[in-house]
Symmetry: C2
């Protein structure tokens, strides 16, 4: 049996090996992914992001426990840590998780630290997600640390993106970013027993109102949908207003309600047609990233290191500008 | 007079216009940068990064004030906000700064929000830094928000990188990241009057000890240098141990000592030869990013949108995998 057949049959060891191959960018990983690809497209991909100190990991842990206990779903957690070239933080996080989730055959936890470039990380994340999807996991939670562009990029992978905030981080001018709100399908105020939780929620509500000023609110089957003024009849015009959910993840408070919101969002995506839109966008981003790395690999094959270093030295000596250097290197390549 | 001549003569309006052209990726910006490039390489580039809530902006403000008052240096501040597609946060931050720094001809503050891709942002940052450098600013402070890969990438631009922490954010497993420590030349514990400041410092010290376990410490002219065991005589073997500096930026406490550390780090870079190493690395990263975007532009010219969308549709239908799709597109291009 090939590795991919084993994975389709639910072999955890074969899956673990493939994930390592993907992380190391090994060619056999690529072959397996080509075989697995037709079996993807079924999992609900949930992105979870937020600043350090918001209790994201513990929240993801509770979500996974809830999905296991009440819905008997197969869950994969992929913890992506773009800020760390080591696996230190992620491994520590895993140990905390292991206490509650270890030994459960229907849970798979994997952490990935960055190796090399951000492009490489996004690609590995996409590939690992596909492996989990093909392996029959119903829910794949992609957890990222931080509040930078990498989170926005990785959030593009998910159907549903949770942005986690916590009281006490919001007193800085830059703490609540419009950009991070933009990618949120659901806002979670975790550590909801801390002082200042109302202020955090209020600040988030104001930001949301700023982001959606012209829309009218329609309650649609009790979910948080809005219909825009111009095209209320077309289903694709249904707009999702991110709900704000309060949780205390260390005590499991608010988790059931949060899962309910996630489910409603998935329904919204199906009804509005946005599920397919997000799928297509994700695949397009992935395709473009692959093209970019292929082009760069080809360039490295065609322009010798010696030539590259000669040109770099000229730039370093301020004899030619970077733009002129690129022109020299690219013309050389196409001569 | 051309725009670049005006900039070399200290014309602030011409500089402001060039920065806008750089942000908009306008071709005239590129021409000016080619002319300015021979005049770059003199400024001390200081990166300042850290999670939201650490008081980075206020710290940068104080640093600039100190450089103005005590050293009469020309200062540029470039506030880069990769998480925000809007300029909201950055503009607000600028207003706070303006109170103390406005009207000073030798201070230039510019904020940049992300437009499009991260690659684009890193490139714009590099270009703006070059413009400030050529315009004769002694110090260019590049401030980034967040704790992700984008910060690591932007930190590569700087000679000296400050990582800012604050008490009360450090109680999360993932709050203090090994990866973010790795890029730090100087660690700043800001909000030093808050409870828990000793714990934050202790945690940072432990992390530093983990990161530098095998080195022996030599005090060298009172600065924080270490000499590695194997090659104590070669100057390039001088290793810098990041000092931990406590500040209360809102009150200006610890700023003079922090500036002293920054100056020592610059001396260290000159003595050890690392100044040139960092310069070269920065230019290499920039060159590679430019090559990448040029290759992608060329690909877009050569592969029609129709062809691309046809292949994307096949991927979306799960008929071909992304890898196979790239092969189809790249072969088409080279046929």
């Amino acid at each position: 049996m090939t590795a991919s057949q084993k994975i389709l049959n639910g072999d955890r060891l074969a899956l673990a090996r493939l994930l390592t191959k993907i992380e190391n960018n090994a060619p056999e990983g690529r072959d397996a992914l080509i075989e697995l690809f037709p079996h993807t497209g079924k999992a609900h991909l949930i992105g979870v992001t937020g600043a350090p100190g918001t209790g994201k990991s513990s929240l993801v842990n509770q979500l996974a426990l809830h999905y296991r206990k009440t819905e008997n779903k197969k869950i994969a957690i992929l913890a992506v840590d773009p800020s760390s070239p080591f696996t230190g933080g992620a491994v520590l996080g895993d140990r905390v998780r292991m206490r509650d989730l270890s030994g459960d055959e229907k849970v798979f936890i994997r952490s990935m630290a960055t190796r090399g470039s951000l492009g490489g990380l996004a690609q590995s994340t996409a590939n690992m997600t596909q492996a989990f999807d093909a392996a029959g996991f119903d829910i794949v939670i992609i957890e990222t640390v931080g509040a930078g562009q990498s989170e926005v990029d990785i959030a593009k992978l998910a159907h549903t993106t949770l942005v986690v905030e916590a009281p006490g981080l919001g007193d800085d001018i830059q703490a609540i970013k419009a950009g991070i709100l933009e990618i949120a399908d659901i806002l979670v105020v975790n550590k909801g027993d801390r002082p200042g939780v109302e202020n955090t929620e209020k600040a988030l509500k104001s930001m949301l109102d700023l982001a959606h000023p012209t829309e009218r609110i329609f309650r649609h089957h009790g979910s948080n949908m809005r219909v825009t003024g111009q095209a209320q009849k077309a289903s694709s015009s249904l707009t999702w207003i991110p709900p704000i959910k309060r949780t205390i993840s260390t005590e499991g408070v608010g988790i059931a309600e949060l899962v309910e919101s996630i489910t409603k969002h998935a329904e919204h995506l199906r009804i509005s047609g946005d599920w397919a839109v997000r799928d297509r966008t994700r695949l397009q981003v992935e395709l473009e990233a692959l093209i970019q790395s292929s082009l760069m690999n080809r360039f490295r094959e065609e322009v010798s290191e010696k030539k590259f270093n000669e040109v770099l030295e000229k730039v370093f000596q301020r004899n030619v500008s970077p733009y002129e250097a690129v022109k020299m290197l690219m013309n050389g390549r196409l001569k």
